[in-house]
């Protein structure tokens, strides 16, 4: 058991590494018109002080995370020798570490966010710039995302999972393993029933619906062009959306396949190490893909190489006042529901719109709903 906890921590530490890399790089992945959640003219992005701030952020966050992870591992080794650690504590520790890393990230972000705000007030970068908003009236006439019909293969895998379960029902043992530990031993068993057997197909269905919905919002999200160079930023924005849409669709297929495999292990006995290898491989593929996509594309396509043009002195609309803490968009006058995150990759919500809260509830409620349905069937 203690050995077990140490191995779990080690694996978690390893998977945390790419996550830390991604989080540390965010100042370099955002649009050039933003720095730590404060809008700036893009020429200022190269300012020596800002360059130093970004470097400092990376150093401090990477260093802090390393200390947290190593301290966690050391604590585990020490505990493993001395005290018997129960399941509950084990789970708590596995959850605490990522949460601590995220807290560190947000704390450091806030520090630099407020520093940026003071700097902006001091230096008055906006003077001499004209704030503009530019839109392309034909923006939505081109395909911005891949069609949700591409989710059909995932739906097919889900149906296959259901079909397989029904056909080979008799081969499923009376007690099925629901949870494994890291050495491949079963830690949680469940009785065979329609309820337990419908859990994975329901998860598949939930993921497909969620990804289809998120993919739909990619086409809907606000058009955010750089007024200084609308042509380039339009091309970048379209590439950004299409790549993430493709990522969503492929990942839905991967996840449904993983659940197909999980259901298969109920019918066919598979050695524990095979399962361990397959799930690690899955995690590795998703993590590497996310990293590669984030670095190659950047927020809003800011890292996509497109032939740049010389522009006038124009800057984005300064909407700092609508970004609470630089991260949460709250603008009752903006009809947009989905828009690009400021400090991060992907989209966020306009929290001044009631629909945004509904959307959040929906996403949070999905796993709960699945469990409820599974209990009802059982």
């Amino acid at each position: 058991m203690n050995q077990e906890l140490f191995i779990a921590m080690l694996i978690e530490t390893l998977t945390m590494v790419p996550v830390v890399v991604l989080l540390a790089s965010i100042p370099y992945l955002t649009r050039r018109t933003e720095s730590f959640g404060v809008s700036i003219p893009k020429e200022v992005y190269a300012d020596e002080e800002l360059v130093q701030m970004r470097k400092q952020f990376v150093r401090r966050f990477a260093g802090g995370s390393a200390v947290l992870l190593v301290a966690g591992l050391l604590l585990m080794t020490w505990l493993a020798r001395r005290v018997p650690v129960g399941e509950g504590l084990q789970g708590a520790m596995l959850t605490a570490l990522p949460l601590l890393v995220l807290a560190l990230h947000f704390g450091l972000y806030l520090h630099y966010h407020f520093r940026m705000k003071r700097l902006k007030a001091e230096r008055q970068w906006q003077t001499g710039y004209v704030e503009k908003v530019v839109v392309d009236t034909r923006f939505r006439e081109q395909p911005l995302r891949y069609s949700n019909f591409w989710l059909l293969p995932s739906i097919f895998v889900m149906l296959l999972t259901v079909g397989m379960t029904v056909i080979f029902w008799d081969r499923i043992p009376e007690k099925v393993p629901m949870q494994y530990n890291f050495s491949g031993q079963v830690t949680n068993w469940a009785d065979k029933s329609w309820g337990t057997m419908s859990l994975f197909p329901l998860f598949q269905l939930g993921i497909i619906c969620l990804m289809g919905f998120v993919n739909w919002t990619i086409g809907l999200a606000k058009q955010q062009l750089d007024p200084d160079d609308p042509e380039t930023s339009r091309s970048r924005n379209v590439i950004f959306r299409r790549r993430w849409s493709a990522f969503l669709i492929w990942n839905t297929l991967l996840i449904t396949l993983l659940f197909f495999y999980a259901q298969l292990t109920f019918i066919v006995a598979v050695p524990g190490f095979v399962t361990a290898i397959i799930s690690s491989l899955f995690a590795a593929v998703v993590l590497v893909w996310t990293l590669a996509l984030s670095f190659r594309t950047g927020q809003g396509g800011s890292r996509v190489r497109v032939k740049a043009q010389d522009g006038e002195r124009l800057m984005n609309r300064d909407d700092d006042r609508y970004w609470k803490l630089g991260q949460f968009y709250f603008n009752p006058d903006d009809p947009a529901l989905f828009l690009e995150k400021r400090f991060g990759i992907g989209f966020t919500l306009n929290f001044a719109r009631p629909a945004a809260w509904l959307f959040l509830l929906l996403i949070l409620g999905l796993p709960l709903g699945i469990l409820m349905v599974s209990l009802l069937i059982g």
Binding site: V130, V133, T137, Q223, L225, P230, A336
Partner: protein, 130 residues
């Protein structure tokens, strides 16, 4: 076609929108029958109130530059644009008057003033040929 808004300008946003669309038509980037974005979508992308976009579309419709269809939304008028009638000429004169006055005060001669107008005409027409 790009529409650009200056949010610090004294010119109201709906007027800037009307002007942006008229310039698009003048340049030939918007042709009769071309669809304009829906009120909701344009307001979302610009981050402005839907009423503002609606007001601009209503004004353009009143003037006869766009039509609104139940299905296709706002479309550039296919039945020909209104001509420069007496009412328009009167409005044009009224709008030019302060500009001519200021030009005279700044000792800009008539020929230079007309040159600027010609250059603008050429600019719109030149790009329309593409």
């Amino acid at each position: 076609m790009f529409i650009e808004l200056d949010l610090q300008s004294d010119v109201p946003i709906y007027t800037q929108l009307v002007n942006g669309i008229l310039e698009g038509i003048a340049r030939g980037e918007l042709k009769p029958g071309d669809e304009l974005p829906s009120v909701r979508m344009l307001a979302t992308d610009l981050g402005i109130n839907m009423h503002t976009v609606n007001k601009a579309y209503q004004l353009l419709k009143q003037e006869g530059f766009i039509q609104t269809h139940r299905k296709r939304g706002a479309v550039v008028n296919t039945e020909g644009f209104p001509g420069a009638d007496e009412a328009y000429l009167q409005r044009l004169e009224a709008m030019l008057k302060p500009l001519v006055a200021e030009s005279i005060c700044r000792r800009l001669d008539e020929e230079r003033f007309l040159e600027v107008c010609r250059a603008l005409y050429a600019q719109f027409r030149g790009q329309g040929g593409e």
